[in-house]
Symmetry: C3
Subunit: 420 residues, 3 copies
Amino acid sequence: TRGSPEFREPGSGGIFRLTGEAQFDFGYVENPGERVATTNLGYNGRARRIIIGAHGDLPGDFRYIIEFNLTGQAVDYEDVSLAWEPKGSPFSAKIGFHYPFVSLDILTSNKLISFSERAQINDALGQNGRRLGASFGLVDKSGTLRFNAGLFNSDINANFNNTNYLVSARGVWAPKALGGQLHLAANYQYRRFPVQSQGFLYQARPFAQISNVRFIGTAGASATGALSGGIAASGDQVFGVEAAGIFGPLHVVGEANYVKVDAIAPGEVLGNGRASTGQRLEGNPAFKAAYVEAGYWLTGETRGYARGRFDRTRVRNPVHKGGPGAFQLVGRVDHLDLTDRVGGTGAGIVNGVLNGGKQTGYLGGVNWWPTDNIRFSAQYTRAEIDGGPGAGQVEPLSPASLIDRDYGVDVFVTRAQFDF
Amino acid sequence: TRGSPEFREPGSGGIFRLTGEAQFDFGYVENPGERVATTNLGYNGRARRIIIGAHGDLPGDFRYIIEFNLTGQAVDYEDVSLAWEPKGSPFSAKIGFHYPFVSLDILTSNKLISFSERAQINDALGQNGRRLGASFGLVDKSGTLRFNAGLFNSDINANFNNTNYLVSARGVWAPKALGGQLHLAANYQYRRFPVQSQGFLYQARPFAQISNVRFIGTAGASATGALSGGIAASGDQVFGVEAAGIFGPLHVVGEANYVKVDAIAPGEVLGNGRASTGQRLEGNPAFKAAYVEAGYWLTGETRGYARGRFDRTRVRNPVHKGGPGAFQLVGRVDHLDLTDRVGGTGAGIVNGVLNGGKQTGYLGGVNWWPTDNIRFSAQYTRAEIDGGPGAGQVEPLSPASLIDRDYGVDVFVTRAQFDF
Amino acid sequence: TRGSPEFREPGSGGIFRLTGEAQFDFGYVENPGERVATTNLGYNGRARRIIIGAHGDLPGDFRYIIEFNLTGQAVDYEDVSLAWEPKGSPFSAKIGFHYPFVSLDILTSNKLISFSERAQINDALGQNGRRLGASFGLVDKSGTLRFNAGLFNSDINANFNNTNYLVSARGVWAPKALGGQLHLAANYQYRRFPVQSQGFLYQARPFAQISNVRFIGTAGASATGALSGGIAASGDQVFGVEAAGIFGPLHVVGEANYVKVDAIAPGEVLGNGRASTGQRLEGNPAFKAAYVEAGYWLTGETRGYARGRFDRTRVRNPVHKGGPGAFQLVGRVDHLDLTDRVGGTGAGIVNGVLNGGKQTGYLGGVNWWPTDNIRFSAQYTRAEIDGGPGAGQVEPLSPASLIDRDYGVDVFVTRAQFDF
């Protein structure tokens, strides 16, 4: 069963579907030692996403999608794109606002990820990541081998100077083997920032979007948890590997990313119309991230997988058939390291080391799907932070270097979700 | 007939409906003596609401709704919620963005209220009043007795410090008696403001939303009709009683509210992370409001009523069947008193009295519904104001105390509305 | 074939359709001599429109439409209106947000115009031009003669002082003659600006909306291409004539406009609550604009025409039937003259001449429609500018008067579009 009906036009083979989604979050992010000078930690409630849109097929093997996310009294976007997927051909193409080919966790729908938020590297690399661009795909007949690549410009905004761009590619090998579904993939992004504002603030929330405080990020010391400035860079490269397996009710998945920043040095002269933003660096920092996750359906479901990403899991015994719905236990360890030696001095640099900080999350949660389109989730996270822009504020008396001061934060998030 | 079709999914019993609405207002709010220093009085036109959304049923007795109000170049929301209404059970539950149980006038759809705006107490208590929260309902088999209660957080916003909350409850007794439909109800709200900004500005427009000028409100004197500041308070309690009757083409309805403010005193020390906003008060003020309304369908309709609130009235002889549509005459007297003795001095306080002002509206109007989904309305209101933040500006030469200076304002509003 | 299905309600004759559209632009606007101090010239990508909405019929010969354009992270509107179109009657009426009767190019859907943007006079007269208002139409039985007139207030905004208004009228004679479809029309607007801010900035982009730089406009000299201020005026009158012909695969069309400004003189005293904005002028300037356009369908289509404007062209051999889709070549010359003698001195005035500037565009493009609902376009424009607010910045060494300094700009725009 679907949450909304699908309409087929007689004669043309066209299909049309209205879609929507809402996610309501309520939770708690600890203010460590009550030392961060902000009201944006503690309890908070929020509508995380409120989505409405339409999907459809057009004659000629075209597919379109327009989806808006209108939460927070603001206009944002899910996919807004046109795809061409000729039947029987290994080739496909897409134009418009869609995700670069970057991470299994990103490419899996936000409705279907194991926790309320994706792995923190995706947060650190900047917002939701979709871009205006054009891409193509190749897939073998069995669907086991898959390759996508694209050239992307900017997000959907009101700017008239979107000179940034991004090239990305991803290859997937997804054999049915070992009695289950395997997934091995590699992805790559080459990103250039806008020429008139070359710089980026790599920063990650504490595994929840009910707070805007970041304990780690490539910025100068912050007493409030709000970071600003970032580092001067013309762009970066992001390398990722993905591995996953689905074996009956069990799934395991892990990804690792390596980010190589093309920093701009203190003395570097940029051309006409070009400028940098943020702290200039003597060396090129590199950042590392990895997570491993496992999930188990207590009620016997098998996690869905299709087209190189996780897909919807069908509930075996939904409540309207007298069943308990589907219960899933999930656990994850997620590590991000934004600290690296760059030499020199400046905002965020401690003894020649860019003190972006390291954050490791230990996440555990339970997801209950009474039916296919409704989900209730609860999750607890312990975030352990080493260094970072808040270390001096949170641990003011520690004799350790700012890079080594460590502290922990408890995070609790509940979510109610429906989609159609 | 509906304005939009309803889709039923074969096999699942699911129902899906697209909905929308637009309201166009044009009218006039008098600038008394041309003395208020603003351009926001006089003639003005406006799209009051432009709504689009979807409703649906999901298997398992779930119902969802997502509705956006996108007027004024801004994103706002009608209901965004998921309800569980098990068939044959007296119990139901709802989660998401919906109205606390607060007033018959609020719980009646904006499309179906008698005038262009609801009773002024609803404006004074803050915006449209919906909140993110969870609630439950109980109803007896005949639908005569009804009880709802809920716990609510904040509205849908981009804040990360929504520490406010609200508890509300409402009981309704709605027997068919005396040859018609009766309605007797009581409602209650316990509201706490965000701990980091404890305060509220109670203020009400002159019975129209085509101006943002307020002649009454708990703020200091204003020469422009724009109020700011408000009073320091940790929260308030709102008590309401409702009575209504529908007898053939006639309906009568009245509500009364009593608002008890938990003010914060000048010397009071708030805890860590807590702060007040607005004028601190030595005493706890109380505000009072009441309205009575009557309406009569000249064309013989009977005002709709269902589930503890007014519902859609079906047009007996719509224009597409050669009839005149439905004509309704409506009248209302609406009084709000934001003036109370609190002692002390400060912004908005005159001789120890918080000079919020009193406003009484005498409203008369005519509604024409050519068909079920189209409405044209015209209404005249005489607003009489005693005291309030604008009294000194409007009546500068009066020998009376600022609390007792009175003046009147003519208001005229026309509306065109359609919905589907 | 349509991009979305149409639903008919059994019994009522009601029709309902969901609609949507997306346009993705990428292109280049030359920075002449790299002299304009902005980052808003050069390459830029943008989602030009992302539209979602609904159309429908209601019993009683009413038709409604609600369409939002939610691009650029902002809420904007296409039509939001209710029409009454009694069958068999020459009369119709409309209320709500819709276009005044102003120009064939404006009244033709943005999906169906020949280039990515409309003729520059429409940009110069202010944004997209729709207004809240009421209008009526008359049409003869054959549809050959058509007259519309309306009274309009403001756009949809959050203001409470929309005292501006507009009266417009348009008559069309559209006979089938000379072996094709002819179109001859005249249109007129009488516009009054808000009484509290009487003034307007007439300005036009260089034939593309991928930059916000204006080389011409009634403002003082600008080094950055961002204009501000405008001229003081109580309103203006716009006179337009339209002529078009469709002969098989060929269409030709031209329009001319004359704008007479009711300027406010330096010494003029405005009444209570009234104020002017921008440069006051000693004389009333007049502006002139005209364009001519021709298009040819290489694949044999005939450009659609209906109800006094261009309509959708049906693709003869779409790709899903093995055809090439439809290819169209289009060319246009578009001239706008914002320079006029007004006497006196002040911002934007050079030797008694208001130096708004003249801009002529030579546009050529190709449009490919693989199917009825998908369009890919590429166009090149050479914009020639005489004088204007940027002339001193772009041509600093020229001995000519600022009014006569001329320069050119290359503009290239590509667009991908789908609609349903």
